[in-house]
């Protein structure tokens, strides 16, 4: 048997199993104690001075044909020394003779072991006897002169020649003698006897290298190593915010995204980067400059805020993810299951996205410049009817309604004739005149009272007049570096994002400073700080705002020209909105120009943390960290008065507001890492955290500013004239606050690198709940088994690594507004004041119930079970699989209240149970064919959402919102169905003729005449003969069957190409957008395809004066929402490295290139922001842009 140093750290069982034993029982026990107490410390080092002890001891001894063992025993009897040896090595030395004499112990031992292949070494009072030729390094007897020693030194670099800090260098077989490379990647090992050795170099994220080297006498052998980065995903480091672990050791479901992937995704918001990259994470881009994407991890877990928690350099942040500079990101880790998210307690329920920013790397300071320019344009322009097409459809309407074919705009012929001029007047109907009419004489023109519009018979394309190509640019300069004692990284970025809606923009300046220093070995101080300033201008929009800007674009007749004959913007003031001519609201373009010129938002932000780490004892770290988020903001808006505007105000007004929010948290943590001889690895911590959130804002509006130059516009320059006419100053403001206290801890234990255990517990206190319900406790337990490390797996060579893992744990959620555990009263003038004195001057202030409190509200809890595996197969195929069951109970919702409770806002109650069950699979493979290197990543995930329970005492179902033109809610959540299932009628075609209708009518006498020929035939679900509210049913689910992403990277010589596809499948979209755009009487292309006796195959119902029921929510509006998108295609060229630069790469890229979908709306990627309105499209979203980029990466 090969000699090993006594295994001090071994468990007792292992000790007895070993052939080694300690002569003394006491020693054995103390050895164990030492092992347990101080195993991590290097206590086995024998100083040379210790050997003195042997010479000082004299003993009297005589041996007659005795064995070496008995000689040792006799020595033990006379001295305090104890022997340790391997029986097999010692047993065959028998028949030793030694004359009786007084011996110095050292001489005695030398004599005894002379002519044997044994040597010895003294460690404390133990004399360790071992076979000398097997163990050169320790064969040096204490008496012999120091042997000639050599050493090894060298430098470890990666493929790019950059140093690999902290790589480990081990001399194989030399008791794993080794060291770690320093920040420059350099290492040296001294005190090595001449000979041949095997060196093993390994680093996190790199393939391990072994190499034979020879060490000569008194020479230092120099040997450099270049490490290849590993395709083994298990080598990744998982940063959880509170701790770091190798993915190998993680027992939960985690995914990571590297800086390379981030670099391929030219987006504003961190959330958008995740789209399609990670199984189980669904992302909906919001469009629009500076917008933040909607990110959902594993479906909807709650009724309220479903946003995941972002942790940036250990600081939890909410919102503000569009302030982070993607180029600063080193890695993104997505924590999906409770084994780790439980660490975040209340905030981790929706999953956690951990972002680590770049820090300085050792070596010469590095400078990098990254920039791109991007040309962006709308993916799709909706087609609009031409004015003539619309007029014809309108003529059909008149016929269908048995009305006379006579209209002031279109004449009274059998077909409509488009007018030449429209004259808007402030009062009275517009004049509609022919080309040569004297009323259209330009000399009569007056902007305020007589605006002459020459109609646009070709049709004004309002979409193209406001949307178009835009240019976005990003420039980032960063410099970073590090020494042994400190590191730093600075980066500055200018990002100017112009929107495809002309005039909208988002400009952001960011500065990041990351530093860390180690003034002493036991002390570390550092900070990560982001300063950001942005400004922008946008229009009111949002998916659920059909009356918003994009909704208005459909609502405006193409017959109306952009400008009147005097080149002033046309306005519909004076042209009433009617079926004949959709004048719409104010001129969108005029409104847009005014809003974008005079309405701006300014946001600043400081996000960061500072920390102190103290390591009083090796392995024990005390950390205090303060994380802050501070967001001051201001905005201003000027609304000018235009005579041509429909809602023209007689006076202008200026609004300015500002506010700030701050969110600090202070975490104090004690952690301890213990490693006992690579057998036991324990890392544990306990922490205490306090958090406080504050918000305060105020605003004012002043009317009638006499000048409108931008510099003049401020709140003191208004001219309020009276208190009754509406021209008075108004002020507003508000505040918000919340706080939390948490105690939490975590123990990770790894046995033999095979058996992994983790336990997390967190107790959270929240200010949101009443005195009795403030605290919630959220534990998690997880285990992992690296089965591939087991002997019985050795013969399965294609499995390189396989870890099975399982976790059960819970998280809480308190994402509701503050103070709702008691009734809230306010003094809202509109709903509470009353002229109690009867003075007819001013109403007295009253107090009324504003929001009903519920003292019983408590933590919403979600409990997740997660089972999965991580594997490396065939050396470079990474597979990660998870099955999960996420149960949310005590879900906080605001169910509708009985009318008996009055008009106040409904109280929150813990009333629902959700479940989300699903599977996730991620696969990655990398290899090369000759010079062609490739790697492929694929992920697919599915989840099934189900409402399991709704507190039936309160309410049987939760409805979504309803929007005009229907008063029905479009979605309903009910037990046994996915949350937010679409709810409405089933449309069984169209009544084709009177007979068809009559037949149906006989069976359903309750039908109103609205359901006559040409109208939608709604199914009588409950067979009561009446079509009414009770015939609504579930008509689709917004939840996708699965979501997937596919990424292929190819590198050939200096050329790289990456393709990224992303898709969603099996979901339905409630395309209520059609009720505004492609519908009888609307102006989108297709609106003309209405039913008539001559067009019986029409998709749309007849348009007549009885058309109100057809638009009710029905299966007609439910469409397949599946899509596959070629998200990104990037082609790059890297110039060969030379003296002038380290790195130079240029690339071109297309983003959002092609979308395959059957969805007829503008884009299938609609916001799924709210759980109760998921999957409903109102077409109000800012359209997503297609981008073409040119970029450069340059490094010195």
């Amino acid at each position: 048997m090969k000699f090993l140093f006594p295994a001090w750290g071994m468990l007792p069982a292992r000790l007895s199993a070993s052939a080694w034993h300690y002569k003394s029982r006491i020693m054995k026990i103390s050895g164990i104690l030492v092992a347990i107490c101080c195993g991590g410390l290097q206590m086995l080092i024998a100083g040379p001075g210790k050997a003195q002890g042997l010479n000082d001891v004299k003993i009297t001894l005589e041996l007659k044909n005795e064995s070496l063992k008995s000689a040792f025993a006799k020595i033990e009897k006379q001295t305090d020394f104890r022997f340790a040896y391997n029986r097999k090595q010692v047993d065959h030395y028998r028949d030793i003779n030694l004359p009786k004499d007084d011996y110095a112990l050292q001489n005695l031992l030398d004599k005894l072991l002379d002519n044997t292949d044994l040597s010895y070494r003294l460690i404390r009072n133990k004399i360790i006897v071992f076979q000398k030729d097997k163990e050169q390094s320790v064969s040096a007897g204490p008496e012999t002169s120091p042997p000639p020693e050599g050493g090894i030194k060298g430098k470890i670099t990666n493929e790019k020649g950059e140093p690999v800090a902290a790589a480990s260098i081990v001399v194989v077989g030399q008791n794993n003698k080794g060291t770690a490379a320093d920040m420059q990647g350099e290492f040296s090992i001294s005190g090595i006897n001449p000979g041949k050795y095997t060196l093993r170099i390994s680093g996190v994220g790199f393939e391990t290298v072994t190499r034979e080297i020879t060490v000569n006498d008194n020479q230092v052998t120099e040997e450099d190593f270049q490490l290849k980065s590993s395709n083994n995903a298990l080598d990744q480091v998982i940063v959880t915010g509170y701790s770091k672990q190798s993915k190998r050791d993680v027992t939960g479901a985690v995914s990571t995204i590297s800086a390379d992937v981030v670099a391929q995704t030219p987006v504003t918001d961190v959330g958008s980067i995740l789209q399609g990259r990670v199984a189980g994470v669904s992302v909906d881009d919001q469009g629009g400059p500076g917008s933040m994407a909607v990110v959902r991890i594993r479906g909807f877990g709650t009724n309220g805020d479903n946003d995941p928690l972002y942790v940036i350099d250990g600081v939890q942040i909410r919102g503000g993810t569009n302030l982070i500079n993607p180029n600063d990101i080193e890695s993104i880790t997505i924590l999906k299951d409770p084994s780790i998210t439980s660490l975040y307690g209340a905030e981790g329920g929706n999953g956690v996205i951990v972002i680590t920013t770049k820090t300085g790397k050792a070596g010469a300071p590095r400078l990098e410049y990254n920039a791109y320019g991007s040309w962006e344009s709308p993916i799709k322009y909706p087609k609009i009817l031409s004015p003539q097409q619309y007029a014809n459809t309108y003529w059909g309407y008149l016929q269908n309604s048995s009305l006379a074919l006579n209209d002031p705009y279109y004449g009274n012929g059998s077909s409509p004739v488009l007018p030449d001029y429209l004259i808007e007047r402030q009062a009275g109907a517009p004049l509609v005149v022919g080309a040569n009419d004297p009323a259209a004489d330009p000399s009569l023109y007056n902007l305020s009272s007589y605006r002459i519009l020459q109609t646009n018979k070709q049709g004004t394309d309002w979409w193209r007049s406001v949307l178009g190509q835009s240019f976005t640019q990003s420039h980032q300069l960063s410099v970073s570096g590090a020494t042994d004692k400190s590191n730093y990284a600075l980066s500055a970025r200018y990002f100017d994002n112009k929107g495809i809606l002309q005039g909208t923009y988002f400009t952001r300046y960011t500065l990041r400073v990351n530093t860390e220093s180690k003034p002493a070995k036991w002390l570390k101080l550092g900070e990560n700080m982001l300063f950001s300033y942005s400004q922008g201008s946008d229009v009111s929009g949002g998916n659920h705002n059909p009356q918003g800007f994009f909704g208005d674009l459909y609502n405006r007749s193409p017959l109306i020209p952009m400008f009147d004959i005097a080149r002033n913007y046309s306005g519909p003031q004076g042209i009433p909105d009617s079926k004949a001519l959709h004048a719409g609201g104010n001129n969108v373009v005029l409104g847009q120009k005014n809003a974008l010129a005079n309405s701006k938002g300014y946001n600043a932000g400081v996000i960061g943390s500072g920390y102190v780490d103290v390591e009083p004892i090796k392995g024990l770290v005390v950390e205090s960290k303060i994380g802050i988020q501070f967001y001051p903001y201001s905005y201003r808006a000027f609304s000018d008065t235009f005579p041509q505007n429909v809602f023209s105000s007689p006076y202008n007004s200026f609004t300015e507001g500002s506010g700030w929010s701050s969110d600090w948290r202070w975490t104090n943590k004690i952690s301890y890492d213990l490693r006992i001889h690579d057998i036991h690895k324990i890392s544990a911590f306990v922490a205490y955290e306090a958090r406080q959130y504050l918000l305060r804002y105020s605003s004012g509006t002043t009317p009638s500013l006499p000048y409108t130059t931008p510099a003049y516009l401020n709140l003191s320059n208004g001219a309020p004239t009276d208190t009754t006419g509406g021209t008075f100053n108004t002020v507003g403001g508000g505040t918000d606050a919340a706080s939390a206290l948490s105690v939490f801890g975590n123990v990770n234990y790894s046995l033999l690198d095979k058996y992994l255990f983790s336990f997390v517990i967190r107790r959270d206190g929240s200010s949101k709940f009443g005195p009795l319900n403030k605290y919630g406790t959220f534990p998690s337990y997880s285990v992992g088994w690296r089965i591939s490390q087991e002997k019985f797996m050795d013969h399965i060579t294609w499995i390189n690594d396989l870890k099975l893992r399982a976790a059960v744990g819970s998280n809480g959620n308190d994402a509701i507004p503050s103070g709702l555990y008691e009734n809230q009263y306010n003094t809202d003038t509109y709903v509470s004041s009353y002229d109690i004195g009867g003075n007819n001057t001013a109403a007295s202030t009253g107090l009324g119930l504003y929001w009903i409190g519920n003292p019983a509200i408590h933590w919403e809890t979600n409990k997740t079970t997660n089972i999965g595996f991580d594997a490396v197969l065939f050396k470079s195929l990474n597979v990660s699989f998870s099955w999960f069951n996420r149960q949310t109970k005590d879900l906080l919702a605001e169910p509708p209240i009985t009318g008996l409770q009055g008009d106040a806002l409904a109280p929150f109650e813990n009333i629902m149970k959700f479940s989300n069950k699903g599977v996730e699979l991620e696969m990655g493979y990398g290899n090369h064919i000759g010079k062609l290197k490739y790697d492929v990543n694929f992920n697919i995930a599915t989840y099934r959402n189900n409402v399991q329970y709704i507190d039936g005492d309160t309410v049987a179902h939760i409805d979504g919102d309803s929007y005009a033109p229907t008063h029905f809610a479009l979605t309903r959540s009910v037990v046994g169905r996915p949350v937010s299932s679409f709810f409405g009628f089933i449309q069984d075609g169209i009544f084709q003729n009177a007979a068809d209708y009559t037949k149906y009518n006989v069976a359903h006498p309750g039908l109103t005449p609205d359901n006559a020929a040409g109208h939608f035939k709604f199914r009588d679900i409950n067979h009561d003969g009446v079509i009414n509210d009770n015939d609504r049913t579930f008509i689709g689910s917004p939840h996708p069957k699965f979501t997937y992403g596919f990424n292929l990277n190819l590198t050939y010589w200096n050329i790289d190409l990456s393709i990224f596809l992303q898709g969603v499948s099996g979901n339905k979209i409630f395309n209520y957008w059609r009720a505004y755009s492609v519908w009888p009487g609307a102006q989108g292309d297709g609106s003309q395809n209405t039913w008539s006796s001559s067009n019986t195959n029409a998709k749309l119902p007849i348009w007549n004066s009885n058309s109100s029921d057809d638009v009710n929510p029905s299966s007609f509006f439910v469409e397949n929402g599946s899509y596959l998108r070629v998200k990104s295609l990037q082609l790059g060229y890297t110039f060969p490295k030379n003296k002038a630069f380290n790195k130079l790469r240029i690339y071109v890229q297309g983003f959002n290139l092609i979308t395959f979908t059957k969805y007829t709306g503008i884009d299938p990627e609609i916001s799924t922001g709210s759980a109760t309105n998921a999957g409903v499209d109102f077409g109000g979203n800012y359209p997503i842009a297609r981008k073409f980029l040119v970029g450069i990466n340059f490094g010195l």
């Binding site: 002390l523 102190v612 103290v614 009083p616 005390v622 205090s624 104090n668 205490y688 306090a690 406080q692 508000g734 505040t735 606050a737 206290l741 206190g765 200010s767 403030k774 503050s818 103070g819 008691e822 009734n823 809230q824 009263y825 306010n826 509109y830 709903v831 509470s832 004041s833 009353y834 109690i836 004195g837 009867g838 202030t845 009253g846 107090l847 009324g848 119930l849 504003y850 009903i852 003292p855 019983a856 209240i897 009318g899 008996l900 409770q901 009055g902 008009d903 106040a904 806002l905 109650e909 005492d953 309160t954 005009a964 033109p965 229907t966 008063h967 029905f968 509210d1029 009885n1106 109100s1108």
Partner: protein, 291 residues
């Protein structure tokens, strides 16, 4: 190093030190009932309750919940014409007698009436808690609140007949035991006696005159009580009460205690004078909708 360790532990303890009140945060932008449990607060709660007589609430405006009930009275009776062709409009649905369970106006109206009830009960419960009010002041405030509570229940009873009565003890129960209390209420019992009791209490405890003109006084309560008797078909009681009201009002008017009043003021006075039957007549001829 030890010192640093102690320092760090100290930091943690410091963080713990502020624990006591750290998790108590007042609801932002609003007050809780503790802040209103005093003379000023009760007065403001009362003003808020009077506001509900207008029907202008968070959820609706002058249509569905207007205190004049013009949609349910004037439009349905043919006194007013809704107009317009928008088929989906609830006003038209009501005009056409096609009201369904999903007709939003009715839900609004119900909610508005019971909002008034809820606010009345809040006044009653809060007045009892107030420390700076005398017992007489409390009783007076409670009497006003009961007058209003009677009014809102009366309105609901008139609209739907089968409606539940929400007493202040039910409201207290809901505060203590959560809002589920409301689900257990029945609308089967006839609530006229409860309404009558409210007006009776108001009649017994309200002052003869109020300094603020908008407030209900003893005689306003008397009128409403009489109206209540009429609806209950307790004609004798109504007659007796009205006989005591009318001369008094006439006398007051003669003494010009009621100064020149606006048109709406006159209607208010008329409203308190006229009997139910007279009101119906007035409604018919003058297109006004009395309570």
């Amino acid at each position: 190093m030890k010192r640093i360790f102690v320092f760090a532990t100290g930091l943690m303890l410091l963080a713990t030190a502020c624990k006591k009140n750290f998790l108590t945060i007042e609801a932002p932008n609003v007050v809780t009932i503790e802040a209103a449990a005093n003379r000023v607060g009760v007065e403001q709660l009362l003003v808020g309750t009077y506001h509900d007589v207008t029907g202008l609430t968070i959820h609706s405006g002058w249509w569905s919940t207007s205190g004049t009930n013009w949609v349910y009275g004037d439009i349905t009776s043919g006194d007013a014409y809704r107009g317009g062709t928008n088929q989906g409009n609830d006003g038209i649905t009501i005009e056409h007698f096609q009201t369904q369970s999903s007709t939003g106006f009715l839900a609004d109206k119900w909610r508005s009436d019971y909002d008034g009830v809820s606010r009345s009960n809040t006044v009653i419960l809060t007045a009892r808690l107030a420390k700076d009010m005398t017992d007489d002041e409390k009783t007076s405030a409670i009497a006003e609140a009961r007058f209003l509570r009677g009014h809102f229940h009366f309105d609901a009873k008139k609209m739907w007949n089968h409606v539940p009565y929400i007493s202040d003890s039910v409201a207290q129960d809901a505060i203590d035991n959560g809002n589920k209390v409301y689900q257990s209420l029945s609308n089967e019992p006839d609530i006229w006696p409860d309404i009558e009791a409210d007006f009776r209490f108001a009649f017994d405890h309200l002052p003869e005159t109020q300094t603020l003109k908008g407030k209900a006084n003893k005689w306003a309560a008397a009128c409403y009580l009489a109206k209540c008797y009429m609806f209950e078909k307790k004609f004798d009681a109504a007659k007796a009460l009205l006989d005591s009201i009318i001369p008094r009002l006439m006398a007051e008017m003669a003494l010009e205690k009621i100064p020149r009043v606006s048109r709406t003021g006159w209607w208010t006075i008329l409203m308190t004078i006229l009997t139910g039957q007279q009101k119906i007549m007035m409604n018919r001829y003058f297109r006004f909708n009395f309570l």
